[in-house]
Symmetry: C2
Subunit: 243 residues, 2 copies
């Protein structure tokens, strides 16, 4: 049986404007590999409701899971919850469990529970909350769409709460070999080797170091012994040119 | 007249597997702001022809420009040129101008012009070449799709060759203000201010520093005097809480 699949949807003008370099995609990609959920696509869209709705609907029908990042804070540009509700054709209102959770958080931290903060208790009916131990305001899962914060520390805490609840697959294992030859030299024998192991994926990632070409070859799959066998053949092919 | 729009399409299993952290999206986002091309969407897909074809066709009809990154090297997993040709319903064969350019590059550098390297001279008919001063193999522009390498140094050199040839718009200017108050406090007055300046975009980006909440507010637009006016009002609203 093949692994569950996933997409990440990053919502944020700050990424598209070049102001901020996204960190959540790389973090979650690494976590998904560990639990055997295959990340197939990432999209970044702006803080624009039609763009978010279109992306959510395209991705949730194509993949087992959709993870979103960003746009669930209290300010006027935080429109993700509204967009998700709209994508599902649902209304959105303050929900008592989320309201009580936020109220308790602000009472304990001595911060004022402002109207803007109450807005963060607007959670679609039927959604499951995702805990936010950092700043209180929860994320939520609605069917296969998991809505999380954009601030990296909060995003990571939410992923830690969410991932153990999702059914994983076989973790994807990988081994890599650095070969001090350009891709133009290794391409042909590497392509032949890849055909011998159709159950594995062979990636070649070129680099330039001190003016010389090299290639990092990564072999991925779910069966460690097959990866070992392919890696042994690969190393023998390029003996003398490996680091 | 509004600015031209753009999408970036990143092709690479190495990003989706969490092995490599993409650098090209952030780089190009910053360059596009400078020349007044509005980046609206980014997608990352795997080294899979149907996925690339679908993304290219969706993006090239939605935006003025599509910039792709990755998958144009000589190895078996470099399938971007084939996928672009397929997306346009064209064949793909070695083109003399690209072949001569590669031949001259390898002759000058003393590297062998292998069959795998000759594969990189496969360029769709009608496409314009994008220069690669780093490793010879060119990118290309086919209509509004600009196909570039994934290695960051080569990607950046190709962007430097390409961007001056594209019509830009008004550069998007921005100013930011750090406010040492949580978003839940600034949300309401900030939302009102944003409504006073509908021609500008107001982004609020929360942070946590030494356990205290703060917000970076970024005001963006194409008219410097309007941004100045909004920033003056913003600073007055939160006088005493700004850095």
């Amino acid at each position: 049986m093949s692994n569950p699949t996933a997409a990440i949807l990053i919502i944020g003008d700050e990424i598209l404007s070049g102001r901020t370099r996204d960190a959540n995609m790389h973090y979650l990609a690494g976590e998904l590999v560990r639990v055997g959920i295959d990340l197939k696509e990432v999209r970044v869209v702006s803080d624009d409701e039609p763009a978010i709705v279109a992306a959510v609907n395209a991705l949730r029908s194509a993949y087992t899971h959709v993870f979103t990042s960003g746009g669930i804070g209290p300010t006027h540009d935080d429109i993700t919850a509204d967009a998700i509700a709209k994508a599902f054709g649902m209304g959105l209102d303050v929900r008592k469990d989320a309201y009580d959770l936020l109220g308790a958080y602000y009472a304990a931290s001595g911060l004022e529970f402002t109207d803007a903060r109450k807005r963060m208790a607007r959670i679609p009916e039927g959604a499951t909350l995702i805990a936010n131990p950092i700043s209180g305001a929860p994320g939520f899962s609605l069917e296969n769409v998991h809505v999380m914060a954009g601030v990296p520390s909060i995003f990571q805490a939410m992923v830690a709460d969410l991932l153990p609840r999702l059914a994983g697959g076989k973790p994807v294992l990988s081994q890599s070999l650095r070969i001090d030859l350009g891709e133009g030299i290794i391409a042909e024998p590497l392509g032949k080797l890849a055909k011998e192991f159709p159950d594995l994926s062979f990636g070649s990632y070129p680099f330039i170091r001190n003016g010389a070409y090299g290639s990092n070859v990564v072999i991925r799959g779910t069966d460690a012994s097959r990866i070992d066998a392919a890696m042994t053949k690969l190393a023998a092919l390029f003996a003398g040119s490996t680091a």
